[in-house]
Symmetry: C2
């Protein structure tokens, strides 16, 4: 009987998660009830959204119950099955948890995947996963970019941001990326094709706003927001009339006990801008459409996606914290097996 | 030769405007160049937007130059004319200033009005003016309310807010108004037909959010925002999925040196809400359409508009400050002549 290591949430974090908020527990792997199946997790996605699920606050998903393993999208192989639609050996992807084995009850959100399309099953957690499809639907369906428009992306070196920038170039936008540090900024222009890279580190809102203004004298037609806080404040000072802001993430705010907020929200009024709250979960029934487009661009070499693969459930905590320290260098993924 | 008293901006306010930021200057009335005409101002609109124009900051209009009279929409009568389209005695409305007489250069934004439609020419600064049309287009065109939806209005006892609430009832919404103090809240339900009135005064964000939640257990489908700051923070905790937020004003923030911001902006993401920055200036070419609808509802007794008419250019400063103290009891108007 295999042992199931499970990375559990045992205390709700206040601000930055601490090691003691979690516990790696070994449990015997149980039976497989009829209709259910067990997935051997190979890769798990580490995402800012997980931090939100750790709070006891209203969200689009219930909070992770204390004592449960941390919810995560995983890619793995069916290990044992009481469900005729999922034979052992089948690769699947679904909303499971940071653990060796996940029990998928009937009706759970888990689908078969065809790993022969890609060089590594981990791609289903990056370009063909929620991250890639967030960029795809968030930019193309929500903001509806038009060739020649100026696209401003925060968190531009991140997994979503780097793909948003590349998709922006594919549709003919001028792309300006904001990231933290010289290394990330170099990657923006050299690897992801951004026209301009702006380093936000160590800059006041006014200084950052001035730098954006120099890069986009007519303002940004589209802002793809992953960061929030003072970066958003600086962006808001640089909106074109009728700008569209896709609110995809606010990572700088998630661990803040006292939030910065959007202090320049009045610019949304002044510029008659529109802010669109975006959640990829609303697009589940269009994943095939988006995945096909992303797979094609990936195959044509028009899209590149970096993965930052960390190893081992025993290092789930430091791996997860790379999201917030800015250490990750691509879509953060935990290799479990 | 008449004397022209002009209420000039002589120093840019920091936070709350102070008496010394202004100066009431008497100047001789000049000639009327060909193509121009002079308006004897009878009524002037006092609006939060004027506070924004006093700052040296990017906005939809240039800042009021220091030494110029404070820009204002006025209703008056043509006093002298070098423009064949504007005969002396004609009632007009336009973007002029807080002064006895305004010189309107060719191409200025001033139009003839038919005061026989209304009981008092001041109506062109309330129900048939920017205020009434802001409610009309901001609610009906931007948020597109559907019968049965829940409409949450901040600044609900104010000029715009009280009309938004009444228009919401006309189209079949359930209306919840937020205002400051028991008197205003009584007006919301007794005069403007709000289904629920909530007093924000003396309440924390959490307490106010809980009170909104009790009144709107399913969340607000539409938020019509006039206030911003902590009131907006509480509203954001009570959005229905796919809520529409019309960002019409942020009066609590205009005089703040350190702005509160929208600290619960993440709820826009979680609830896939949309925030629409709204400016009535974008609807100038549809004013006739909106004015006709408002005049009809006004005539049928389905809309009531309160005007808070203050008297005399010499009291322009205390009159203007009623906007920010919450003392005004309707659309604030300065009677000049």
């Amino acid at each position: 009987m295999p042992v199931n290591r499970r990375f559990k949430l045992v205390r709700r974090p206040v601000g930055d998660p601490l090691p003691d908020d979690f516990d790696l527990v070994e449990e015997p792997l149980g039976d497989t009830p009829a209709g259910s199946f067990i997935v051997r997790n190979h890769f798990a996605s580490l995402d800012p959204a997980q931090r939100g699920w750790m709070d006891d606050a209203p969200s689009y998903m219930p909070p992770i119950p204390l004592g449960d393993p941390v919810r995560a999208t995983t890619v793995g192989v069916v290990h044992a099955s009481g469900n005729p639609s999922f034979a052992p050996g089948q690769w699947v992807m679904g909303l499971n948890a940071l653990e060796d084995y996940s029990l998928v009850a009937p009706g759970g959100f888990t689908s078969p995947i065809d790993v022969s399309q890609v060089d590594n099953p981990s791609r289903f957690l990056s370009a063909l996963g929620a991250v890639g499809l967030t960029a795809y639907f968030g930019l193309l369906d929500t903001a509806k970019p038009v060739a020649g428009e100026t696209l401003l992306v925060s968190g531009a070196a991140g997994a979503v941001g780097s793909m948003v920038g590349q998709l922006g170039k594919i549709v003919g936008c001028r792309t300006i990326g904001i990231a933290g540090g010289a290394d990330k900024c170099r990657r923006l222009t050299e690897k992801y094709g951004f026209d301009v890279a702006i380093d936000y580190k160590g800059k006041s809102v006014d200084a950052l706003a001035a730098e954006i203004a120099a890069a986009a004298p007519g303002g940004a037609d589209i802002v793809f927001e992953n960061v929030g806080g003072t970066v958003l404040d600086a962006e808001l000072m640089n909106l074109a009339i009728n700008a569209r802001i896709v609110l995809c993430g606010l990572i700088s705010e998630y661990n803040s006990v006292s939030k910065v907020g959007a202090r320049n929200l009045w610019q949304v009024l002044v510029k008659r801008a529109t802010v669109h709250g975006f959640l990829i979960a609303d697009y589940v029934d269009r994943f095939a459409e988006g995945g096909a487009a992303m797979a094609q661009w990936l195959g044509e070499g028009r899209l590149r996606i970096d993965e930052d693969i960390q190893h081992g459930l025993e290092d789930a905590y430091p791996a997860f914290m790379r999201l917030f320290s800015g250490a990750n260098t691509g879509k953060l993924i935990l290799k479990i097996a």
